[in-house]
Amino acid sequence: MTGTTSAAPTGGSPVHRLGAGPKLVALCLCSLALLGVHGPLGAGVAVVGVVALHALARLGPRVLWAHVRPLRWVVVCLLAVQWWLLGPVEAVVLSTRLVALVALAGLVTATTATQDVLDTLEHALRPGRRWGVDPERVALVLALTLRSVPVLADLAARVRDAQRARGREADVRAFAVPLVVGSLRRADALGEALRARGLDD
């Protein structure tokens, strides 16, 4: 795919080389299959499969841990609730299934460049043209969003400073109202600028 400008994950493994489209489809199918796992054997196979795929992608245990790390407290709570409601075997199987699912999704994200996923999305939207979906407009919105994040982060920081100066740090309204109004002003100026450059109908 052309135009992969974002920091592509480096690594020449077969998993990295596989296109974003096939990987996303495979992830969907594997996720559905994993949701059908209800026994210890299936859960064991899932864990072995996920570890093997990480090995194939030449991603170490540290990367694997990073994929499931956000779940660590959730899993502890979940395991307790499931143990209490469903018994120990079921609890371990269900929690393992969830961790395997998240690890697998993390693997796809770690081995696929951001731009490749966005390109695939745009490509997948092409048949939607006949229902009024415009892939180029979608691409424009995605690009404008990426450009706007630092601008709005800067605006949020300035609003927060002003709020602090007035001693109203705990007031959600004193933060959100100027931020939303500032964002809308910027959005409408941006819309004007786009039209001036002939990007409108």
Binding site: L24, L27, S31, L35, H67, V68, P70, L71, V74, L78, Q82, L85, L86, L94, R97, L98, L101, V102, A105, G106, T109, T112, T114, V117, L118, L121, G132, D134, R137, L140, V141, L142, L144, T145, L146, S148, V149, V151, L152, A153, L155, A156, A170, V172, R173, F175, A176, V177, L179, V180, V181, S183, L184, R185, A187, D188, G191, L194, D200, D201
Partner: protein
């Protein structure tokens, strides 16, 4: 493409819409950054991303609000850590809170749909819309999906989710107050040039 002319006449998202959708998607990302608000002197570290979802619907309207949330989710799916707490990547779409992410899109749409049907922007009107869409719809999608993914029965999952209810009700209140104030401070905010009627 040969049908560009036909395509442009049926185009429903103008550049003004595109700019607002993109800006609100970015605003949602910024509201997910930690430290965007300090409640009770930093004792409760919360982010305002779910407030952003309600505001997207209330201020941009049903269609554009839902598209703003969808835009954020597309960038998250592509691997960018833009969700509250720096989460991102495909993992969040198979994790326990996956249903809530889908619920955000539907929730923003319903909040917008309800606010669009109100003749004037009032605190109580927006509050009702935010509670119905931003809390009711989000939970209605999020809880069953969470139950399916974790295997915990639905009633117990619903009970566990109640822990987030007070915070979300506070955010609905904030959404109503902010929307009413924005409507006064920036009167064209809720005017919807891209829509008829």
């Amino acid at each position: 493409m040969t049908d560009t002319v036909a395509g442009t006449t049926t185009r429903t998202t103008t550049t003004a819409d595109a700019a607002r959708i993109a800006t609100f998607a970015a605003l949602l990302a910024v509201l997910g950054l930690p430290g965007s608000i300090a409640l009770f002197g930093n004792a409760v570290p919360i982010t305002l991303q779910t407030l952003g979802v309600m505001l997207a619907g209330a201020i941009l309207g049903a269609r554009r609000g839902a598209l703003a949330v969808l835009t954020l989710l597309a960038l998250v799916a592509a691997g960018l850590p833009l969700l509250a707490g720096g989460r991102g990547g495909l993992g969040v779409f198979v994790g326990p809170s996956a249903g809530y992410l889908v619920g955000f899109v539907a929730g923003a749409f319903v909040v917008g749909w309800l606010v669009e049907r109100q003749r004037r922007v009032t605190f109580l009107g927006v509050l009702a819309a935010a509670l119905a869409g931003g809390v009711g719809v989000v939970y209605a999608v999020g809880i069953p999906v969470q139950a399916a993914l974790t295997g915990v029965p639905l009633p117990e999952t619903a009970m566990l989710s109640l822990a987030f209810l007070p915070g979300d009700v506070l955010k609905a209140l904030a959404c109503a107050a902010v929307t009413a104030a924005v409507a006064r401070a920036y009167p064209s905010a809720l005017r919807r040039p891209g829509q008829e009627g």
